[in-house]
Amino acid sequence: MRTLVKLSWVELKLFVREPITVIFTLALPIIFLFVMGGVFGNEPDTGDGGTIIFRGVGPLDYYIPAYFGLVMMAIGTVALPVHLAGYRERGVLRRLRASSISVWSVLGSQLVVSFVIAVIGSILVIILGIIVYSPHMPLEVGLLIPAFLLGLVSFAALGFFLGAVLPSTRAAQGLGLILFFVMMILGGAGPPPEVLTGAMDIVGNLTPLRHTILILQDPYLGFGWNGQASLIVAGIAVVATALAARFFRWE
């Protein structure tokens, strides 16, 4: 337990000292937020184009909770896999293991760091969003918190799985960035999902991000708890955890 606390603290400091990861996980969602805000403003769509987009709410009300999910997704697809694969490749995991630091401390500390980063990233998104576009505040905070935790655990598990199977930093970076952009564009953090048609919509529905965004948006916008999406996200968490445990290698 003492080791987990120490390691978590050390890993947080290491995260902050790594500017590229900080930019990728914290600054990128904010940049997207301003781009989307600049393009769409925050007036709810009236359905003049035939389909009501942004679920009928203001675009920024749509994107702010969606970008909570984007921060989690950046952690799960890029930050965590690259970090873990790099640790394995360079012999850091081996060094930790030889000193009796358990796999639970290693992954537990990463979960703690992921949580802290996701909270900071989400707070930055909401504060900057409110300052610039005055969208409304989350309506059902009591439901938003468990949804946030569920989404985070799910993406962290995905990150552990990718970090377990990807053999090198390069592989993790390559695959991680592809997953990141595919999920971002088709998963509901890019163009509004209503304008995605055919194959794009099908693929979008297969991304964990689409469902994570739904479980975050629904309480934020006052639509209640999304049972179906939360089951899917929980399922992803369980399967990814099992696979990560199965394939985790120290070296």
Partner: protein, 302 residues
């Protein structure tokens, strides 16, 4: 001798490659035990099995009454490991590494003292990536000691250290032993093995080919000393008659006489008797290098 480590018929293969064929040895509590051999002899694989970092194919291991296969975590808390291939995160600071590794056990040593002992006090706030090879090596040794281990494994610990730092390291390793810990040293440096180890095993192609104290090995396998001098005298055939002389080799004026026991005194007196008083007469005692050459038939660096 109370054995703190017992290894019986250890074997480890990687596919068709036999890394460790059949290795058995015991290490007594409080000694510095060395595994000496060329690269690829199986030394590192052996100690990695002992540290529960690899699963042996077969054989029995007992360290501190624990079996690495079943009590890996409990064992790792009580041993110290300096690994040949490992690293720390680039931006981790020296003090953070020691503080982290000290947290695994309440028995841990005061890492500030280790920083001083290993000459890292000035580097305490430096990041791992900014350290030189020698500094990294010293940090890894300090990390191996920070949990106050009863057994310390040091795998090629002086690689990357300059000669002065090596000597300091040797003294510190002796002080670890003198405090009561047992040290298992993997090395391919002859001088290190000879000067530092209380007992050592020579490992060749996955097997132990000799095991004794360094002096015991020299006495057994390389008892012959070499007497060396230069002379212009052409005919030295009478030297063959001197007792204890085994072999004479000559290249130009340089003469090398191999023999044993009191051969130096006998050769010297025979030279004087024949009117030769070389100013450069000297004797070379056999070293571990001669033992190694004799046993394995090759130089360690080959």
């Amino acid at each position: 001798m109370t054995a703190i480590i017992t290894v019986e018929n250890l074997r480890k293969t990687y596919g068709a490659t036999v890394a460790v064929d059949d290795i058995s040895f015991e290490v007594a509590e409080g000694e510095i035990f060395g595994l000496l051999g060329p690269n690829g002899a199986g030394k590192t694989t052996t100690v990695e099995c002992l540290q529960a970092l690899r699963q042996p194919d077969s054989g029995e291991i007992d360290i501190l009454g624990l079996d690495p296969r079943h009590n890996a975590q409990a064992l790792r808390r009580q041993i110290g490991s300096q690994l040949q291939e490992s690293a720390l995160p680039d931006r981790l600071k020296v003090w953070e590494a020691l503080d982290l590794f000290a947290s695994v056990t309440p028995e841990a040593l005061d890492w500030q003292v280790l920083l001083d002992q290993w000459g890292l006090a000035e580097k305490r706030k430096s990041s791992f990536s900014s350290l030189s090879g020698g500094q990294r090596q010293r940090l890894f040794i300090a990390l191996a000691l920070v949990n106050n281990p009863r057994v310390v494994f040091l795998d090629e610990m002086t690689t990357g250290l300059d000669p002065a730092a090596r000597r300091v390291a040797w003294d510190l390793i002796r002080s670890i032993r003198d405090r009561g810990a047992t040290v298992v040293l993997v090395t391919h440096f002859m001088d290190e093995a000879e000067k530092l180890c209380d007992r050592l095993a020579i490992v060749d192609r996955g097997n132990i080919v000799a095991m004794d104290t360094p002096q015991g090995m020299i006495d057994e396998y390389a008892s012959e000393v070499r007497v060396i001098f230069t002379t212009d005298r052409a005919d030295l055939s009478w030297l063959d008659e001197v007792t204890h002389v085994k072999k004479i080799t000559r290249s130009g004026p340089r003469v090398e006489v191999e023999g044993n026991g009191p051969v130096l005194a006998l050769v010297a007196s025979a030279l004087v008797e024949h009117g030769i008083t070389p100013a450069d007469l000297r004797v070379e005692q056999p070293t571990l290098e001669d033992v190694f050459l004799k046993i394995t038939g090759q130089d360690i660096d080959e």
